[in-house]
Symmetry: C2
Subunit: 616 residues, 2 copies
C-alpha cells in the first residue's frame, strides 16, 4: 500500500476515489446499503482523515483522540472505507459489511471499537457531538476536536437545532459540523436543496461560524477545515455543496437511488478508477495530557427518619449530591426543572459537574450519552412525562451500549392538580421496553436514596421513577434494596391474598391490608421496587401461598408493574388469579388523594379487589 501522511490536498482526490470505490464494493457485496450517500461525502472525509483528524487508531480509548461521528449513519460504507484506509480493518472485513456476525453493521454501532455511539436515527449525531464538545471543554478539559458528518435531510430534525443552540451559546469552538448538502433525501429533494445560504443563515443566527464550500474541491475543503480549527469562541459549520452519487454517472444527482446498492458496481468501480490501496497514517493527538478529574470522597447516603414524610424526589436529589461527593466521575443533567426533580442539590454542591439542558430533553440525553462515552457517569432527570420526548434517543443509547442513569419525577396521577400533561403514566412501559434496562420505583426516601446510589454501578439504561408528594418513610436508613429484589412488608402463613405495589401504591396497599385485616382477610404486601428485573421468586412464592394477587400501579394498565408481575407467572408453574388495578380513565385536575381514588388505585379500591378475589 502507498502510504499517505499529512498529504497535500491535491493528493486527496485519489483517497476520495478509493473511499468511493470501497463504499461501492462493500455495498455490492452486501447487496444493500447506502452507497450514493457515501459517494457525496467521500472528498470531505478524505481530507479530514488524511490531514485533520487526530486519532490514535491503535488505541481508540486514548482520551486525547478526536471524535468523529457519522450523524448520517447510513453513510456507514464511507466510514468503513475510511477505517480500511487507516489500516484499522482489513479488506476482507470491509467486504463482510451487513453480514451475519460482522462488526460492520448497516448503521454504525460501538461493536466496532472506533465507533463510540450508535447512529442511524437521524438528527442524533450532532447533539451527541455537541455533548462531546461540552465534555471536552468542561469535564475532560482536553483539546480534542469533535467532527460530525451531518446529512442535509436531517437538518429538518428539531434536535439538530437544539444542538446548534447549545453549541453556539456555549461557544464550543472545538466542534465542527460537516454538512453534506447533496440535495436529495430518501424520497426526493430536500426543502432547501442546494441553497447552502439558507442553511448558513439559520446556523449563523445560532452563533456559529459558517463556511460554504464546494464539497468536491479538496483544496477548498482543506481551507475550510483549517479555518474551522483556527476559529475561536464559536463552533463551525462547513456547509458543503455535494452531489449525491458523485463519481458514478449512473446515479449522480439522480432521485430514487437512496439506500440501494449500485446496479452495475463493476462499471462504477471502473469509472472511479478501480480499486486502490492508498493507506493513510492518521496522525495521533498532539496532546498527551491526562483528562481532568474531580475529587472523590466517601459515600454517605442520606438518612431519613422512619415516620417522617419525605418525597422520594427529594431523597433522590440528596442521594445524588452524596454520590457526587463520593465519586468525582458522577455528573448530573436536568431539563430546566432541577427545583422539581431536586437535582438542584447536586447542582448547588457541584456546579462544575452539573449541566443545565434547558427545555430540550433530546439534547439532555445526547449530552449524557456523550459524557458516558468519555467514562463519566451521568444522571439525567426531568419529569417522567417529559423523558418521553427523548425516547428515540434512549432507544438509540441502548443500541449504542450506553450507560445512562435517568430519573423521571412527578410520576402518575399522584401529582394532583397539574393534570395529565404533567403525569408520567406510560414511563414504566417505555423504560421496560428498552433493551437491557433496569426500572426502579421507590416508595420511601431511604429506599430512593439507596437505589439512586446503586444505579451508579448499573450498566445499560437504568431508570428511577420518583414521586412528587411526600410519602411516609417506612424503611430504616440502613436497609438495603438490591436491584432485582422486592420487600415483603406484611407476610404470614395465613395470608389469603397478596397485594403488589410500588411507589405511592405501596402506602395504599399497607392501608388496605389494615382494613382487610379488620375484615378477617389477611393480606401479604409486596413492595416491588424493582420493576425490571422483577423478583420472580418472591412473586411465585406469594402466588403459591395465597393464590390471589392484586397488583396496583399509578400507571396505565399496559406495560407497567401489573404486566411485569404477570410475566413472572407466565411459565404456569404457579397460577394465581390476578386483579390488575391501574389508571384506566383520563385524569383531570384534582388533589392527589382524589386522583388516586378516581383512578381506582387507592386503599379502598385495593380492599374491594382483594375482597372480591377472596370471596369469588
Amino acid at each position: 500500500m502507498a502510504t499517505m501522511l499529512q498529504a497535500p490536498p491535491d493528493q486527496m482526490q485519489e483517497l476520495g476515489q478509493q473511499l468511493r470505490v470501497d463504499a461501492v464494493r462493500c455495498s455490492a457485496a452486501a447487496g444493500s446499503g447506502h452507497p450514493t450517500s457515501a459517494l457525496s461525502a467521500a472528498d470531505l472525509m478524505a481530507v479530514l482523515l488524511a490531514r485533520y483528524l487526530r486519532y490514535d487508531m491503535r488505541n481508540p480509548h486514548n482520551p486525547n483522540n478526536d471524535h468523529l461521528i457519522f450523524s448520517k449513519g447510513h453513510a456507514s460504507p464511507l466510514l468503513y472505507a475510511m477505517l480500511r484506509a487507516a489500516g484499522a480493518i482489513s479488506d476482507e472485513e470491509l467486504l463482510s459489511y451487513r453480514r451475519l456476525g460482522s462488526r460492520l453493521e448497516g448503521h454504525p454501532t460501538p461493536r466496532l471499537p472506533w465507533v463510540e455511539v450508535a447512529t442511524g436515527s437521524l438528527g442524533q449525531g450532532l447533539p451527541i457531538g455537541a455533548g462531546l464538545a461540552m465534555t471536552g471543554a468542561r469535564l475532560d478539559r482536553l483539546p480534542y476536536h469533535v467532527w460530525v458528518l451531518c446529512g442535509d435531510s436531517e437538518l429538518a430534525e428539531g434536535s439538530i437545532w437544539e444542538a446548534f443552540e447549545l453549541a453556539g451559546y456555549e461557544r464550543l469552538e472545538r466542534l465542527t459540523a460537516i454538512i453534506d448538502v447533496n440535495r436529495l433525501g430518501q424520497r426526493g429533494p430536500t426543502r432547501h436543496q442546494w441553497d447552502t445560504e439558507a442553511y448558513a443563515r439559520r446556523i449563523s443566527a445560532f452563533g456559529w461560524h459558517t463556511i460554504e464550500v464546494d464539497g468536491h474541491d479538496a483544496a477548498a475543503i482543506d481551507r475550510a477545515y483549517a479555518e474551522a480549527l483556527s476559529t475561536t469562541g464559536r463552533p463551525t459549520a462547513i456547509i458543503a455543496r455535494t452531489i449525491k452519487g458523485r463519481g458514478v454517472s449512473e446515479v449522480e444527482d439522480e432521485e430514487g437511488m437512496h439506500g440501494k446498492p449500485l446496479s452495475h458496481p463493476e462499471a462504477a468501480i471502473e469509472q472511479l478508477g478501480g480499486v486502490r490501496n492508498v493507506s493513510v497514517a492518521v496522525s495521533g493527538p498532539e496532546s498527551s495530557s491526562p483528562p481532568n478529574t474531580f475529587p472523590s470522597g466517601t459515600l454517605t447516603i442520606p438518612r431519613f427518619e422512619v415516620g417522617d414524610k419525605v418525597a422520594t424526589r427529594t431523597a433522590f436529589g440528596k442521594a445524588l449530591a452524596a454520590i457526587g461527593a463520593a465519586r468525582g466521575d458522577v455528573v448530573a443533567l436536568d431539563g430546566e426543572v432541577s427545583d422539581s426533580t431536586r437535582t438542584e442539590f447536586f447542582a448547588d454542591e457541584f456546579p462544575e459537574r452539573f449541566f443545565e439542558a434547558f427545555i430540550s430533553e433530546q439534547q439532555m440525553i445526547s449530552m449524557a450519552i456523550a459524557m458516558q462515552v468519555r467514562g463519566w457517569k451521568p444522571y439525567a432527570a426531568t419529569f417522567a412525562a417529559f423523558l418521553s420526548r427523548a425516547y428515540d434517543f434512549v432507544r438509540m443509547a441502548a443500541i449504542g451500549r450506553a450507560n445512562l442513569r435517568l430519573c423521571g419525577s412527578h410520576a402518575g396521577v399522584a401529582i394532583g392538580q397539574d393534570g395529565p400533561s404533567q403525569m408520567g403514566l406510560e414511563d414504566l412501559a417505555l423504560f421496560r421496553a428498552v433493551h437491557g434496562s433496569t426500572v426502579l420505583y421507590p416508595c420511601d426516601a431511604n429506599q430512593a436514596a439507596h437505589l439512586t446510589a446503586e444505579m451508579a454501578d448499573v450498566d445499560g439504561i437504568s431508570y428511577l421513577r420518583t414521586t412528587r408528594g411526600n410519602t411516609p418513610v417506612i424503611y430504616g436508613p440502613a436497609e438495603v434494596f438490591p436491584v432485582g429484589g422486592s420487600r415483603l412488608l406484611r407476610s404470614s402463613s395465613s395470608d389469603r391474598v397478596t397485594i403488589v405495589g410500588a411507589g405511592v401504591t405501596v402506602h395504599e396497599a399497607l392501608k388496605a391490608a389494615e382494613e382487610l385485616a379488620s375484615r378477617d382477610i389477611v393480606a401479604r404486601v409486596i413492595d416491588l421496587y424493582s420493576v425490571k428485573p422483577v423478583d420472580v421468586a418472591t412473586l411465585q412464592t406469594a402466588a403459591r401461598d395465597t393464590g390471589r394477587i392484586v397488583t396496583v400501579e399509578d400507571h396505565w394498565p399496559e406495560g407497567g408493574l401489573g404486566d411485569a408481575v404477570l410475566s413472572a407467572f407466565a411459565d404456569g408453574s404457579v397460577q394465581p388469579r390476578v386483579r390488575k388495578l391501574a389508571v384506566r380513565s383520563m385524569p383531570a385536575s384534582a388533589k392527589p388523594e382524589e386522583q388516586l381514588h378516581a383512578a381506582g388505585i387507592d386503599a379502598s379500591a385495593i380492599v374491594e379487589a382483594a375482597t372480591s378475589l377472596v370471596h369469588s
Copy 2:
C-alpha cells in the same frame, strides 16, 4: 358588566389588569397554578381578545373561527380569565380551576369547548399552530388566523424550530407566534433572558417576519398585531419583552416564583386595582365561507391473490390510496420516507391532500393533530422506530382527545440488514401504553388493507404496524378483520398447544404447526392481528382447550403481544402455561431469515418451545 367592543388600545390596560386579577383569583382559589406566567402575558392577550381575535364564542365549531393556542399551557389561568371576560364561562366556573370535576384543568384540554388541543408539554403548541395554518391554507382554504402564545423557555425545544422551518418555508402568513419573553423559566433565567434580538435573529433566519415589542405597552402590542395581519407571504413572530409576575411587586421578575400561587393574593388583587367586570364582545369571523372539501367516491379496497407474496406496507399504501378516493376528508402525512412506508401511492393520486413533513416526526404528528381539529382524517406514517421520536406528541394527542391514524413500517428484526437503529422493536409497548389506543398488526396484504380502511372510523389513537418484506397472502380479499378480533388459522379438538403470533410471526407459526404435526403434536394457531383491544374470548378458549400457549413476536419481550396475551389470562379463570418468544438480544445486521432465527422467533424456535411445553 361594562362591555368593550373593538375598544381602542388605551382601554386595553384595564382589561389586562382584569385578566391579571382573575388569574390571581383562580390560582389562589385552587391553591396551585402558574399565576406569574399568566401575569407576564396578560397585556398581550387583552389586546388580542378585544381587538384582533375573530371567534364566534357561541359556536366554537364555526369553521371560520380563528385559532388561539396556549403553547405555554401552564398560563392556563390567563386563558380562563379571557374566557370569563368573553362571557364563555362564569365567575363561579373560573373559581373551580384545578378542582375535581372542573373543566378548567391545570393545563388546557379540550374538555373545554374553546380549547382544541391539549398543551402543557412545552414546545407543542407552535408546531400544532403551524399545522393549523397549513390546514387553513391547503385544506380548509379559509382565511382564519392562527395565534399561538409561546413561552420563551420553550424555544429551547427542537420541535419549535421544526415549526419555524415549516411555517417559514410554506409562507404561512396567517400564523402569528406571540412570544412572551419574561426572562425566567421554572428554575431560573433562560439562556437569552431579555435578549429579544437573539430570538429575532434566529426566527427571521427561518423566513419569518419578526417584531420586537414591549409586551406591556398596549399601543405597541396593537401595532404589532396590525402589522402581523398585514404581513403577506410570511408568518410573523411578535417577540414581546415582558416581566414575569407583572403588576404584583412581590413577585415581579423574581426567581423562585414559577408555578406557585401568590402568597398574598388579596394584596396582589388590591395592587392590581381590584376585581373588575369588563366584558369583551369578541368579534366573530368576517368570512362565512364553507370550508373546502374534496370529492368522495366509493371504496374499493385493493385485493391481493392468495399465495402471492406482498409486503403489508404495500397493502397499506394501496389501501390508503383507495380510502383517499372514497373519502375526501382523508389526508396523509409522511416523514420523508413515503417510498418506504408506501404513502407514496396516496401522494401520487392526491397530492393536494398529502403533506411531506420531511424528517421531523414531531412536526408530522403536530400537523396531523391540527388537521383532525378541523375534522380531517389524517393518516401519518414513518418507520415504526422513528415514530418513537414523536411519542410525547402522541401522548399529548391522547390527552387532547385527538383522532390519529398512525402507521409504523419496518417493524422488527425482520427488516434484516439495516440493523437495530431502523427496527421498531418497542412500538407495540409504546402504543399499547397510549390511553384509549388501538394497536393493529397485520400479517398479510388483504388483512393490512382491511385494517387500514377500518382505522378511518376508529376514534382515538390507532396504530398499524407493517412489515418491510414480502409475506404470503393467506386470506382472501373478501374476508373481514374487525378491530378487537383475531383469526383461528388452525384449530381442532385434538390441539395440544396454541401458538399466538401476529405479523411476520404468523407465518413462522404456520410453518411450526406443520412441523409439529409431523411430530404428532397438533397445534392451534391464532393470528392476533388486534393487539389492543385483544380478543380475550378466543385466547381463553384456546387456553382452556390446549392448556399451553406459545406467544411469538418480533418485538422486545416487554409490553408487546406476549404481555397482551398474558393480560387476557390475568383473571385466573383459565390458567395456561405460557412460553413467551420475543427478541431478547441486541440484533445486528443479517438477512431477515437469519434475524428471525438469531432472535429465537422463527418456526424452529416455536417448534422447540411448543414441544418442550407439551413434553414437560
